[in-house]
Symmetry: D2
C-alpha cells in the first residue's frame, strides 16, 4: 500500500463512494475521515455498506485532521472546499469534488455562485477531447491540485465533445436534457428529495438557464470546439432512481452525416472508461451502476438536422468519486485504471 | 345511466384504465369487454383493481360482440383498430385509442407505418390551440368517429402549442425529450420491459427521428403555428415509473420574451384539464397520476435564445383513456368534464 | 353540498389525501385548511395535485380557525390532536387520524407513548368483526367523536380478524410482517426517508415489539377473538414505493382447515370496501392504490400448522383518509360508500 | 491467471453476475459462455454492463463447448443442470447454481419438483453453522461438485442458524417472510414481472407452504439444530427493487434471552462475508448491493416470546454468483475471499 488518502466530508454520498472505491484500491489506503455536523458519529451509522470501516469515527474537518496524508479528497459543499484547501500543504495532492476550482472564468463563477472566485485548478476529466487532438489527460500527471468535474457536466461533455472537436456539430444551439438519479442532490434534508415525493415521479429543476453546471459545460465544450462560443439549453430532471445520469444532447449537424460516427469512435477508441456502444445499442444507466464507466451512443436525425448523442454514467462513480481516483492515479504516476471497477452492477 | 360503452382490447393497460374511469362515470356504463389472445379469461385476472367487475369475462373481439352499444372504444394495436372499426355501424360513436386514424397525411402514415392509410378521423385533443384562436374542441360535438391522440403527442403538443399559436416561438428547430413511464409501452412481454431491467435505469429508445409519434406531433404543431412546417427532434426515455410522461420541449424564442407567459396563460385560462402552474412551480408527473389533467410550465432562457416548456401528464389517463372519455362526453353532448378525475393521486 | 369539513394538518400526506377525496365527495365540501409550521404557505406549494384548491392558503391550527364547520378532521402528530380536540364544540363531528384516542387501555397508552392517556373514542374501522357476529360499524352512526385507525393496524386487523372471530385460528402466537410504502412515515425530514436511501432497498424498523401500533392491533384482535389475549410479533419493513401496505399475517390453525376460507368469505361477503379475492389470486398493493379498498386472501399451510392471511391496502386511502370519510359518512347518516373510490389506480 | 471458468446459461441474470465477478477475480478467467435459446447472440446484447466482453458470442450449451476448462458453473433451469452436469468429466470443478443437487432427501425433491432426484452434492454455504460447532465450510476444500444454495434459502439460513445451533430458539414454529427483488425470478417473460406491474406494488407469491425453497431451508436449519425436525411457514413477497432479499425470520425463544445475541456474535465473529451489525442497526438490502456480504441483526421480543432475526443479502451476489465463486475459491485451495467485493454499492 503506497499512499494514504484522507476524505473530508466523508458522511455524504460522494464520501461514501470514495471510501467504497478506496477499499478496493491496491495502492491507496483509507486515512482520516472527517465531517462537519456529523463529526463524532461512527462512520458506519452513515454508510452501512462500509462494514470494513465499522471501527472508524468521523473527525471534525480541520487542516490538522487532514494533515499527514499523501492525498486529500474534499467532498464538501461549494465555498467550503476552497477554504479548507487553502490550509493544506502545497506538496499534498488535493482533489476537490466541489465546484470551487473548476471554472477558469471568474466572471462566470461570480454570476452563477455570487461569491469570490477561488481560482482554477487542473481539470480532472482525462477523456475531454480538444480541437487540436489532445486530451485533458495531458494536464494531470504530477499535478498537486485537481478540480473534479460536476457529474451532469461529465455526462454532457462526454456525450458531445467528440463531435465539436471533429467539427461535425455546431456549438451554437446545443440542447441537453438529463434524467438524473437523486443521489446527485446529496443527503440534504429537503422535502422534494423524500422518497414519497420521488418514487413514481419525474420532475425538472433549475430550468431556464440557471443551473450552476452550465458555465462548466460551456467551458468544456468550448475547449472541444477550439474556442468557438457555446450556446446551451440545459434541463435536468429528477427521476426515480438513486444513481445514474442519462444525458440526451442534441446539436445541429454541421458537417457530413457520414462522418459523425467516426468522430466519436476515434475519440474514444483507446479509452478504458468511455465506450461508444455498438451501433443500435443505446446507453442505459443500469449498465454503468457503480462503475467508473461512461457509455455513449450517437446518431444523426437528418430530418431534424440534428445529431443526437447520449451518455450514461453513474453520478457518484464516473461522475464524482471514480473520476477523483482516476485523476489521482494519473497525478501520482499510477496506472490510470488502477482499482477502478469498469463493469456496472446490472440488473 | 344513459349510454353503454363496449371496450375492445380490455385486457391491456389502456383498457383497464378506460374501465376504471367508466366505473366512476355517472352517464356511461360498462358494456361488453373484449380481447384477442386473452378472450375467455376473467377480466379480474388481468385487472385486479377492477373488483367491481369481478364477474366479467373477456369475449373475443368481433363486430358482433361490440354491437348494441352506444359507444365503442378501441384499445387495439395499430392496424387492428381500423379493421374492427370498418365493421361498426355509422351511428355508433367509435373512439380509436390506436394510431390508425390520427394522421391526415397518408404519405406520413406510409412512411412511419409502412401500411395502407385508413383515413383520418376528428382528432380528440380538445385543448389544441389553433393559430386562428380556435381550438380542436370545436370539431368534436356530434362526431361519430374520434381518433384519440398518442400519449407522448399529447404531452408535447400541450407543452408547446400555445407558443406557436401566439408566434412567440419558432416552429423550425424544436427539441423534445421525454421521461416516460413504462405503461405506455403496454403489456407486451419484451425483455427490456421487465422490472429488473427498468428499476434503477434510465434509457432512451427510438432515437434519431424514427419514433412513430413524430408525424402526429408535427401535424398538431403545424395546426398551432398556422401551417408553418415543423422541424422536431424527439427523444423518449424510459424511466422507472409505471405511469407518467414529463415532456421537456424547447423552441427558439421568436418574439418578445415578455409575451411568452401570457401566450400560455391565455391559451389555458379556461381549460378544466390543462393548467399553467403558478410561476416558479414546475410540473411533476406525481401530481397528475390517475387524473385527466395536464400541468404545464414555461420559461425563457435568454442566454440560450430558447423557450423551455414542460408538461406532465398521466399517459394512461389524460394521455389515453381520460382523453377518450373527455372526447366522448363532447361528442355525446354531455358536460365535457363529466366523470373525469382532476386531482392526481400524490404522493 | 350538505356539510363542510375543516382539515387540521393539511400540509401533510394524510391532509392531502383527505382533500383529494373530499374534492370528489358529493355531500362534503372543503372548509378551512390549517397547518403548524407551514401556516401562511399556499396549499398548492405542498400539494401540487390539488390544483382546484390553488387559491387556498394554510391557516394556523387553532380552535378558532376550525370553528364553524360541521366536521373537523385532525391529521396531526400524536399528542397534538388531543389538545386541539379538547377545544372543539361537542356538537361538531371530530375525526382524529392520529393515535390519541384509539386505545381503550390507558396503561397500554402509557407504556407505548409515555404520556397521559387522552381517553378513547369510537373506533372507525366499520368492517372489524366481533366474536358475537357484530361489527364495529354499529358504533358509528350518530357518533360525534371517531378515532381513525392506524394504517398498519387496519391491514393486520382486516387480514386476520375473521379467523379469530370464527375460531379457526389461535390468538396466542400471531406473526405479522409488513411491506410498507414510505408515505406512512409522513413528510418528516429524516435521512432514512430520503429517496436515495429508499430506492433499491428493503429495511425493517421498530423491530422486536416496540412499534406503537402493537397495542392497537391487539385491542382489535382481542375484540375479534371474544376477549382472549392476543400475542403478536410485529415487524414492519420499508420498501421502495410511496403508498401501500402488504400485511402477511400468520396464526396457528386452531380449527378445521376446511372451514378457514368460509370464515373470511362470510365476514366480508357484503362489505363494499373489503374483498376476499378469488381463490389463487393474491393481493397486490397496486390494485388498491388510491382506493378505499382492502384486498384479502387466505390459505392454510398444513405442514406448518398455520393459516396465512394477507391484506393489501393503500395506507393513505383505506389506511387513513378514506377510513375517516367512510366513518364520517356513517356518523352523518350518509350512505357509507358516498364519494369513496373503490377501484385502484393500476398499473 | 490460474484457471479458466466456463459459464453455462450466461445470458441470464446469474450468468451476468458470475461474469461481472470473474472479470475482477485475479485467479479465475472467463472461458466459454453458453446459452440455450440465445446461443449465437452477442453476449453484450444481453449484458450491456459487460463491455469488456463485447467481442464474445454465446455458444450453445453442450458438453463439448464446456470442455477444456478448470471450472464449469451451471446457471441453468432446474432439471437441465443435472443433465449437463452428468456429461462433464469428474476432474473438473462443477458448481450448480440450480436446485438439482441441493437436497439430500430424494422424497423431498420428488414432492416439490415432481421429477427424479439427481442426487446431492456438497453444499456451498460455508457459513452454515452446525450444532457441533463446525461449519459447512469444512466440506468444500478439494470438492469437485458443489451445489450452490438458493438465494432465499441463504438469507433465511444465515438469519436463523446461529440461534438453532446454540439452542436459544426452537425449531418447531419458525415463520419467515421475505421482501425480494425481482431479479431472483430471472429473465423469464411473465406478465407479473413487467416493470409496470412491479413498480409501486408489493405482492406475495407461492404462499402456503408450496415454495420449492422450503425443503432446502429445512435441511439447513435441521443441520444447525442438530437433527431436530424444522417446521417452517415461508412467504416470499416481491417488492419494487431489482436486487436484494430482506428475510425477517422469527422463532420461539427457547433459552435465556440474555444469551441470544452472543449466539449470533460467536457464530459470525470470524466470518469475512457475514456480519452481525452493531446493536440497534438493522440490515438494509442497499448496503449489500453487488457485494458477497450478508448483514444480520437479531433481537428478542419478550412479550411475543419470539426471537426476530433479519438478514439482508444481494440475491445475485451472496445469493448466487458470489456464493459460487466463494465456494470455488475454497474448492480450488485459493483464499476464500479472493476477488469478491465486500462493500455494497449504496445508496
Amino acid at each position: 500500500m503506497g499512499a494514504t488518502v484522507a476524505i473530508a466530508g466523508a458522511s455524504g454520498y460522494a464520501g461514501g463512494e470514495l471510501l467504497r472505491l478506496l477499499l478496493a484500491h491496491p495502492e491507496l489506503g483509507v486515512g482520516t475521515v472527517t465531517a462537519h455536523s456529523k463529526a463524532g458519529d461512527r462512520l458506519i451509522a452513515h454508510h452501512p455498506q462500509l462494514i470494513e470501516l465499522a471501527d472508524r469515527t468521523l473527525e471534525p474537518t480541520t487542516a490538522e485532521a487532514l494533515a499527514g496524508h499523501d492525498v486529500v479528497i474534499l467532498a464538501l459543499p461549494h465555498g467550503t472546499s476552497a477554504q479548507v484547501a487553502a490550509q493544506l500543504p502545497d506538496d499534498v495532492l488535493v482533489l476537490d469534488c466541489g465546484a470551487d476550482h473548476r471554472l477558469t472564468d471568474a466572471a462566470a463563477w461570480q454570476r452563477f455562485y455570487g461569491t469570490e472566485h477561488a481560482g482554477s485548478w487542473p481539470y480532472g476529466l482525462p477523456e475531454l477531447v480538444r480541437k487540436d487532438g489532445g486530451k485533458q489527460r495531458d494536464a494531470l500527471p504530477g499535478a498537486k491540485r485537481i478540480a473534479v468535474p460536476g457529474c451532469n457536466v461529465t455526462a454532457v461533455t462526454l456525450a458531445l465533445a467528440p463531435g465539436l472537436a471533429a467539427g461535425v456539430v455546431a456549438p451554437d444551439d446545443i440542447v441537453a436534457v438529463l434524467a438524473c438519479g437523486t443521489s446527485g442532490a446529496g443527503k440534504s434534508l429537503k422535502p422534494h428529495l423524500l422518497a414519497s415525493e420521488i418514487m413514481g415521479a419525474a420532475s425538472p429543476y433549475a430550468v431556464g438557464g440557471v443551473h450552476r453546471h452550465i458555465p462548466e459545460i460551456q467551458q468544456n465544450l468550448q475547449l472541444a470546439s477550439g474556442g468557438a462560443p457555446v450556446t446551451l439549453s440545459f434541463t435536468p430532471t429528477l427521476v426515480p432512481m438513486s444513481r445514474g445520469i442519462l444525458a440526451t444532447v442534441t446539436a445541429k449537424l454541421s458537417g457530413d452525416a457520414g462522418s459523425v460516427r467516426a468522430a466519436w469512435a476515434d475519440a474514444y477508441a483507446d479509452e478504458p472508461f468511455v465506450h461508444l456502444l455498438p451501433e443500435g445499442q443505446w446507453p442505459t444507466t443500469a449498465a454503468v451502476l457503480g462503475a467508473n464507466t461512461a457509455h455513449v451512443q450517437v446518431t444523426v436525425d437528418e430530418a431534424a438536422g440534428r445529431v443526437v448523442a447520449i451518455a450514461a454514467i453513474d453520478n457518484l462513480a464516473k461522475g464524482t468519486a471514480g473520476a477523483a481516483i482516476q485523476s489521482a492515479n494519473l497525478a501520482l504516476g499510477l496506472p490510470e485504471t488502477l482499482g477502478l471497477p469498469t463493469t456496472g452492477v446490472a440488473p
